[in-house]
Amino acid sequence: MEKLTKLTSKTTVLPIDDVDTDQIIPARFLTTTTREGIGKALFADWRFDAQGNTIKDFPLNAPGIAECKFLVAGRNFGCGSSREHAPWSLVDFGIRAVISSEIADIFRNNSLKNGLVPVIVDNDTHQWLLANPGAEVTVDVEARELRLPTGKTVTFPIDNFARHCILEGIDQTGFLMQNVDNIGRFENNRSWQP
C-alpha cells in the first residue's frame, strides 16, 4: 500500500447519490485473478457506451482528469457489493481520496486497506464541493483535515489505526500475524469449538 501523508489536488465531481460498487466496477470485470490494469474497468458502463466509445460528458472522461486525484461523490458512495475491486480500480485510475457526506461501510473499510482515503464531510462542505468541480483542495491525513481553496478547513473522522497504516504504508496482515500467540491461546481456551 502506498503511503499518503498530505496531498493537494483538483477534484472531479460525480453528483449522484447512492453510487453502488456495481457501477464503480461492473461484475463482468471481476473475472480477473489479479489486480493489474483494473483502472480500465472503472465506471466502465458510465464512461463508455455499448460500442466502447467514450461518453464525453461523463466527469471521469473530462480532459485533465489525470490531475484530479480526488473524487467528490454524492451521498452514500460505494454501497452494495463488497468487491474490493471497487477501490482497486479507483486507485489504479489515480484517485487517492473519495470525499462525500456519507460513504458505505464495506467500501470504506476496503478503501482504507488500499491507501484510498475516505473523507466524510458535513453537508455544507459537501454542497460546496459538489458545486465547485475542479477545486484545488488538500487532504491532510496526518492532521485529519480537508482544506478548501476558500480558506475553510474541516476535520474528517478517520480511525486511528487506519490512519497510522495509511501514513506509514503498513500492511495489516503483518499486524495480525504479530498476534498469533494471542490467537492460539484464544483457540485453546474457548468454552466451545466451532
Binding site: A27, L30, T31, N110, N160, L176, W192
Partner: protein
C-alpha cells in the same frame, strides 16, 4: 440497563484482543466461506508471504458466482464458448488449484452441496447460532437468520482470515427492527424486507448490526428469515440477526455439520442463551407493522426505490431520482403494475430455497408462462435442485415453459452467460436492482417469488394476489 443484546453476546465471545483507541479488536472468525471470484488475489498474497491457511477446517469452499447454470459434468466443458467465457473458466480452474494447494475442501462440480455460498452454509449445518461467519460477499448477513453474526468482507480481509482466522474490527452499533402483524395471503418475507428498506433507506442501517424482532419474525420459517437477513446490507447494515428458537433448532437438527448426539443437546442449551436480555438497549429502534402490507416492487435503481404494487411511483424532483427512473423507463405517478416484462428470474441467495420454489410452483401449476417472457428458475444449490425434483416441482416449471437450471448465482449478478440484454426488463427475486447489475443496460424489478411467478404468467408485472 446493562443487559446485553444478541449482537453483544456474539461479539464478546469472539474478541481475541479487545479494541482500544489506537487499534481495532482482533476478532475471531468461526466459519469462512470462500468462492472463486473474491479470493484469487488473497491466495496470491499467502503465496507471496509464504503463509499457510491457519484453519482449513473452518473454511467452506464452493464455486457459484461465475459458474454456468448448464450441467458441467467435466471441466473440459468450460472450454466450450457456449457454456463459459474464457475468463470465468480460468477463475474456476484457479479456485480448484487454490483449494488443493492450501488443503481446503471444495464443494465443486458434481458435489451435492455445490451452490450459492449463503445457501450451502445453512444447508450443510455449518451455519450455527453464535458463530461468526464471513465471506467475500456482502450478503453474508443471510447467516444471521440463525443467530450467527455474518458479514461481508473484501479480498484483503479474505487474506487476513485465511492467514490468521481473524479480522481487525471495530464494534458496530446496534439497531432493533420490530416487526408486527400477520402477512396477508400472496405477501411474503421478501415484501417485508423490501418495505423496510423503502422505509429506512439504503443507508438506514449504515454502521449498525440489525436485530429483527417481534411476533412476525417468530412466525417465519428459516427460509423466510434468511430472505429477511439477506437484504440487511441493502439497508446499509453490516449484518442482520434473528435470535435462534425452536424453529432454528428443528431446521438444523441432523444436518451434516450440525453437532450430533450429546453434543447436540449441549449446543442447544448454549444457543438458547443467544437472545437479547430484557434490560438491554439498542442504539436505534425502528418498527414496522405489516398487517396491511401489499406485494412490493422496485421501480428505480436501488432497493429503497420501492412501492406497493398497486400504488403509483412517487414524484421526487432530484437528480439521482430522475436519473434512476429515466434509466428504468418508468414514469412517476404511475404504478409498476401492468409494465411489460421480458425475463423473469427466480433465484439468488435471497429467494432460491424450497419455500420460494414451492411458492412459485403453486402459482405456475397448470399455467403457461406468457409467450413474450423467458422465465429462468435457478435453485440455490445442487441439493435444493434434487429436493425440488423429488417434490416434482421441476415438472411443474418445465410444463409451464420455464427453464429449470443448475445451481449458482446466475442472473443475480450476470457474471456468467445468464445476462439481460440492453433495455430488457426483468422481474427478479434477487436483491439488487442497480443499473446493469443483471447485464449492461438491463432493467431489474425486485419482487417476491410470488410476484415473479404471477408476472411470468401475465407477461406484465402482475399482482400475485390475483393468482392464488
Amino acid at each position: 440497563m446493562g443487559g446485553k443484546t444478541l449482537f453483544d453476546k456474539v461479539w464478546d465471545d469472539h474478541v481475541v484482543v479487545p479494541e482500544n483507541e489506537q487499534t481495532p479488536a482482533v476478532f475471531y472468525i468461526d466459519l469462512h466461506i470462500v468462492h472463486e471470484v473474491t479470493t484469487p488475489q488473497a491466495f496470491d498474497m499467502l503465496r507471496e508471504k509464504k503463509l499457510p491457511v491457519r484453519r482449513p477446517d473452518l473454511m467452506l469452499a464452493t464455486m457459484d458466482h461465475s459458474t454456468p447454470t448448464v450441467p458441467v459434468n467435466d471441466l473440459s466443458a468450460l472450454d466450450d464458448p457456449a457454456i463459459s467465457a474464457p475468463e470465468p473458466a480460468k477463475q474456476i480452474r484457479q479456485m480448484i488449484v487454490n483449494c488443493e494447494e492450501f488443503g481446503i475442501e471444495l464443494h465443486g462440480f458434481g458435489d451435492h452441496h455445490r451452490g450459492i455460498v449463503h445457501v450451502i452454509g445453512p444447508e450443510i449445518g455449518a451455519t450455527q447460532p453464535g458463530k461468526t461467519i464471513v465471506c467475500g460477499d456482502s450478503h453474508s448477513s443471510t447467516h444471521g437468520a440463525f443467530g450467527a453474526l455474518g458479514f461481508g468482507i473484501g479480498t484483503t480481509e479474505v487474506g487476513h482470515v485465511l492467514a490468521t482466522q481473524c479480522l481487525l474490527q471495530r464494534k458496530a452499533k446496534s439497531m432493533a427492527v420490530n416487526i408486527t402483524g400477520k402477512l396477508q395471503p400472496g405477501v411474503s418475507a421478501k415484501d417485508i424486507i423490501l418495505a423496510l428498506i423503502g422505509k429506512i433507506g439504503v443507508d438506514g442501517g449504515t454502521g449498525h448490526v440489525i436485530e429483527y424482532r417481534g411476533e412476525t419474525i417468530r412466525g417465519l420459517n428459516m427460509d423466510e428469515r434468511m430472505t429477511i437477513c439477506n437484504m440487511s446490507i441493502e439497508a446499509g447494515a453490516r449484518a442482520g440477526m434473528i435470535a435462534p428458537d425452536e424453529t432454528t433448532f428443528a431446521y438444523m437438527k441432523g444436518r451434516d455439520k450440525a453437532p450430533q448426539g450429546e453434543d447436540w443437546n449441549i449446543a442447544v442449551e448454549r444457543w438458547k442463551e443467544l437472545k437479547t436480555d430484557a434490560d438491554a438497549s439498542f442504539d436505534k429502534e425502528v418498527s414496522l407493522d405489516i398487517s396491511d402490507l401489499e406485494p412490493q416492487v422496485t421501480f428505480g435503481t436501488n432497493p429503497a426505490m420501492v412501492a406497493s404494487i398497486s400504488k403509483a411511483i412517487p414524484k421526487i424532483d432530484d437528480l439521482s431520482f430522475n436519473k434512476a427512473i429515466n434509466y428504468m423507463q418508468v414514469k412517476a405517478d404511475q404504478p409498476m403494475l401492468g409494465t411489460k416484462v421480458d425475463i423473469v428470474f427466480v433465484g439468488s441467495c435471497t429467494n432460491s430455497r424450497m419455500t420460494d420454489l414451492h411458492s412459485v410452483a403453486k402459482i405456475l401449476d397448470g399455467k403457461k408462462v406468457a409467450s413474450n417472457v423467458r422465465m429462468m428458475i435457478v435453485p440455490g444449490s445442487e441439493a435444493l435442485k434434487s429436493q425440488a425434483e423429488t417434490d416434482g416441482l421441476d415438472k411443474i416449471f418445465t410444463a409451464a415453459g420455464a427453464e429449470w437450471r443448475e445451481a449458482g448465482c446466475s442472473m443475480c449478478l450476470g457474471m456468467n452467460s445468464d445476462k439481460l440484454g440492453k433495455g430488457q426488463l426483468c422481474v427478479s427475486t434477487s436483491n439488487r436492482n442497480f443499473e446493469g447489475r443483471q447485464g449492461p443496460g438491463g432493467r431489474t424489478v425486485l419482487a417476491s417469488p410470488e410476484t415473479a411467478a404471477a408476472s411470468a404468467i401475465a407477461g406484465v408485472i402482475a399482482d400475485p394476489r390475483d393468482y392464488i
